[in-house]
């Protein structure tokens, strides 16, 4: 392939994380001839590459692996299936299904019949959270922390504060402990932590990490180097200083949606990823999106299965299956978002990935019922569920058959509360 020539492929997958690699393997398995997976990082695998702890692969590979082992298995499977992996290649622009790509090999134009965006998500860094104060080194996200510690072998002696108390926050605490830091506390503005009991108890017992709830980071202090953070009690406003040498801002995910936005795809205001229907089609013909780009952030195995789901619908579309009309769907406050956020209507409406929708809530609710409505007509009422901010809430999809294809948008609301 000479620079300047156009490359033609059946499917271009942008992003070689769990979603992109799983999609590529599935596309090949379904008989799609040429599948190119471009990733801007020097190695395929995505975020799991630098997450050394175990817990990967449960849902998609039916076994437990460390992050790097999981990333390697997915990349190996995609390559073995005949997908062309192209790491170190950045897709810098997308017009329709034609991508512009920069790599050490030059600048190439890739013409695809279909494109799958699987660009993942990142954590909001400190400035995006508008945390004031000084700007010393030692302030980072979990992503940076894990690369420093697991890929770079960096030691981080001293005291550390973790901002956030969700799943990834405990993961950051483990990484810090691994790097030799003493984790002073996990700090969350919420009234409770938001991780899973087993994980939390494990961390609490093994490293004795306290969780300070209803606490916000008020200011970062330290000019040449970090000396600590001021934390504020969100209820009383009282502020105190906590000395530390490292601060890790965790969670608060945002999709890496820049390519999607630059390509002019319709965006979902809730997920902030491209708006996708139950087949993971975006608003643009031939462009699909999967993984944490459309639900930031689910676990890697959920992202992988989302990629497989998209692959099946891409293969069907390449085989001549017509695209269906889409009905918008939205989750109403205190729900933050729902994914997918549109319904592909048809005689037999296709189910969403894993047969369910995934949602997030802004607030804690002990027992709440999710209600699905269309034009005031109730379609479904769930059993009571617990709502925890930053934790997935699932909604089955059996009610899709009751959707009126000619009707208005479908809304998901919190129904009558049973108890708090």
């Amino acid at each position: 392939m000479k620079a300047g020539e156009d490359m033609h492929v059946d499917v271009l997958v942008v992003g070689a994380g769990p979603a992109g690699l799983s999609a590529a393997a599935e596309l090949r398995r379904l008989g799609v001839r040429s599948v190119l997976v471009a990733d801007r990082e020097p190695e395929p695998g995505g975020i799991p590459r630098h997450s050394l702890h175990t817990g990967y692969g449960l849902r998609d590979r039916r076994r437990l692996l460390t992050g790097p082992a999981y990333a390697g298995a997915l990349a190996g499977a995609a390559a073995a299936a005949g997908a062309q992996l192209c790491p170190g290649a950045t897709v810098t622009a997308l017009a329709g299904t034609v991508a512009t790509m920069t790599s050490p090999g030059g600048i190439e134009s890739v013409r695809a019949s279909a494109v799958l965006l699987a660009t993942g998500c990142r954590e909001r860094p400190r400035p995006a959270r508008l945390v004031p104060g000084d700007r010393p080194p030692g302030v980072m996200t979990t992503g940076e922390l894990q690369q420093r510690v697991y890929l770079g072998g960096q030691r981080l002696p001293g005291r550390a504060v973790v901002v956030g108390a969700e799943h990834v926050s405990f993961s950051a605490a483990m990484t810090l402990a691994h790097a030799g830091a003493r984790v002073v506390a996990l700090v969350t503005e919420h009234e409770r932590q938001q991780s899973y009991a087993a994980f939390r108890l494990g961390a609490a017992l093994r490293w004795r990490v306290p969780v300070w709830t209803s606490t916000a980071i008020h200011r970062v202090v330290g000019r040449q180097r970090l000396s600590g953070v001021e934390v504020a009690d969100v209820r009383t406003g009282s502020v105190r200083f906590v000395p530390c040498d490292t601060v890790v801002f965790t969670g608060d995910w945002i999709p890496d949606h820049e390519l999607a936005r630059a390509a002019g795809l319709a965006m979902d205001p809730g997920t902030r990823g491209p708006s996708v229907d139950t087949t993971l089609r975006t608003s643009a013909a031939g462009v699909f999106a999967a993984g944490n780009l459309v639900h930031a952030a689910e676990t890697a195995d959920v992202a992988a299965l989302s990629g497989r789901h998209a692959a099946r619908h891409i293969a069907a579309a390449l085989g001549g299956a017509p695209g269906s009309r889409r009905l918008p769907m939205r989750a109403e406050p205190p729900l933050r978002w729902i994914s997918p956020n549109a319904i592909a209507v048809g005689a037999v409406p296709p189910a969403p990935p894993l047969g369910r929708f995934v949602l997030r809530s802004r607030e804690f609710r002990h027992l709440a019922r999710l209600e699905v409505r269309q034009d005031g007509r109730p379609l479904f009422r769930s059993r009571p569920v617990r709502l925890i901010p930053n934790r997935p809430v699932r909604l089955g999809a059996a009610w899709l058959a009751r959707v009126d294809p000619a009707g208005g948008p479908v809304r998901v609301v919190i129904g009558g509360r049973l108890a708090r």
Partner: protein
């Protein structure tokens, strides 16, 4: 070891480097000192990065004159040296009838400053040109020659040119005292040893009054004025075309919204007098007030992500104008109180200081081989960056290896910066030379890699 020179310039900000560059055009032996480990790390690095016309300066002031001349010089210098600049123009927006009533006098002020291109603009035209402008704009003024510039490349270019012409750059060399040496020279005590020189130029910015007192001055006191700024994601860039200026008050130019040469949108600055000359921290109230102002000026900004928040300190004094003078008896010149217009006026300030030095008795013999502007690595967004340059990648694949994804900085550019004539002393210096780690993820993806690249190039430990 004692360093001896004809002229020592204290302060390697945009003013000091400009003076060093101008003096390098003469047969003089110069040394450029700075307390920091890099050039341009004070007021020069944290500001609104606007290349002013000086339309709103006080007529008859030295600042007005030097701004007008300096901006002309810098537009052509930037083009020659590859400093990112864009002539976006500015719209001064009046939000109340009172502000609208002030516009004619601002236009008249501009004409008195020798700038006649300002033009009244109706509310309808404002919205036609800036469709995302918030509701309630009454009228405006167009200032077509206001522009945006890279505040990091500018002092680096001046310093690179000066160093290339033989000026010695002495970093980490805080000046702690001065004495008269037996040979009649000044002897500066610095953190890097004594520096003996015939003449001293004080361009020490926030520290210029301290240096001035060492030379028996005391005519001014620096009163740092902190300006907090918020940088929005590149996805906000399509929200505006020009710099959106407020109607200024006596105290400050007010909160503006401007594009940056890196393709972002900048909101700020605040203006708070502070005591502490090192307090570059942002504050909760400051950031909140900026976001509120931003929501009024460009409501859609509120939906975009914030990439960075920072604060800079303007070196204001009790005087309304620049404090620039030279004294032949003491063989000492001073360029202080440059506040917020240093980049725009820098080349004219240098010209002015050098003419004052000549009048005060510094012998100036032009060099036959006058240095030319250096070719700086281009880090703007508008022009051709290496990652989009097929020829460059074909010649060297390192320019096709993107390391920092948000800013699309390649391995080739990082390597070049580390091997350049003024290599960075820390990660902050690398950021200012390449834009690496300055993007929306703030290092989530690349900080670990960049830190390793920096460390493996054999330089000192990481900073920001």
């Amino acid at each position: 070891m004692t360093d001896t020179a004809d002229v020592a310039i204290i302060g390697a900000g945009v003013v000091g480097t400009a003076i060093a560059r101008t003096l390098a055009g003469y047969r003089l032996d110069c040394v450029l000192l700075d307390a920091a480990t890099d050039v341009g790390t004070g007021t020069s690095k944290a500001n609104t990065a606007i290349l002013h016309t000086g339309f709103d300066a006080r007529p008859g002031s030295l600042e007005a004159r030097l701004l007008r001349r300096g901006s002309e010089l810098l537009w052509s210098y930037a083009a020659a040296a590859g400093i990112p600049v864009e002539r976006t123009g500015a719209l001064l927006v009046a939000w109340t009838p009172e502000q609208a009533a002030a516009l004619p006098s601002i236009a008249a002020n501009a004409r008195r400053n020798g700038y006649g291109a300002v033009r009244p603009v109706s509310a309808a035209e404002l919205y036609a040109r800036e469709p995302w402008l918030g509701p309630g704009a009454v009228a405006g003024l167009e200032v077509p020659d206001e522009g945006i510039i890279c505040p990091w490349t500018t002092p680096l270019a001046f310093a690179t040119e000066a160093v290339g012409a033989g000026v010695r750059l002495l970093l980490g060399a805080a000046v702690t005292g001065v004495s008269a040496h037996a040979d009649g020279r000044h002897e500066l005590a610095t953190a890097r040893g004594p520096v003996r020189c015939r003449w001293v130029v004080n361009a020490a910015g926030l520290g210029s009054d301290v240096i001035d007192r060492m030379f028996g001055g005391g005519g001014f006191t620096i009163r740092p004025r902190r300006g907090e700024l918020v940088v929005f994601d590149k996805l906000a860039r399509p929200l505006l075309r020009s710099i959106l200026l407020p109607v200024p008050t006596a105290r400050t130019k007010g909160v503006l919204v401007a594009p940056t040469v890196y393709g972002n949108v900048l909101l700020g600055p605040t203006a708070d007098d502070v005591r502490d000359r090192c307090d570059r921290g942002t504050t909760g109230p400051g950031l909140r007030s900026l976001l509120e102002a931003g929501r009024r000026i460009l409501p859609r900004l509120a939906e975009e992500e914030v990439t960075s928040c920072y604060a800079g300190l303007r070196a204001a004094t009790e005087h309304p104008d620049y404090v620039i003078s030279a004294d032949g008896r003491r063989r000492y010149a001073c360029a202080a109180g440059i506040r917020s217009t240093g980049i725009s006026a820098s080349l004219a300030i240098a010209e002015h200081v050098v003419s004052l030095l000549a009048a005060a008795g510094l012998p100036l013999r032009p060099r036959r081989d006058r240095p030319a502007p250096p070719e700086m690595p281009y880090i703007g967004e508008e022009g051709l960056r290496p990652y989009r340059d097929a020829k460059r990648i074909a010649a060297d694949p390192a320019y096709g290896r993107i390391v920092c994804h948000c800013e699309r900085v390649t391995l080739g550019e990082i390597r070049d910066a580390m091997a350049g004539p003024l290599p960075p002393a820390d990660l902050g210096g690398l950021r200012r030379r390449t834009r690496v780690m300055n993007g929306r993820c703030q290092g989530f993806y690349c900080a670990a890699t960049v830190s390793r690249l920096f460390a493996s190039s054999g330089r000192a430990g990481p900073g920001t």
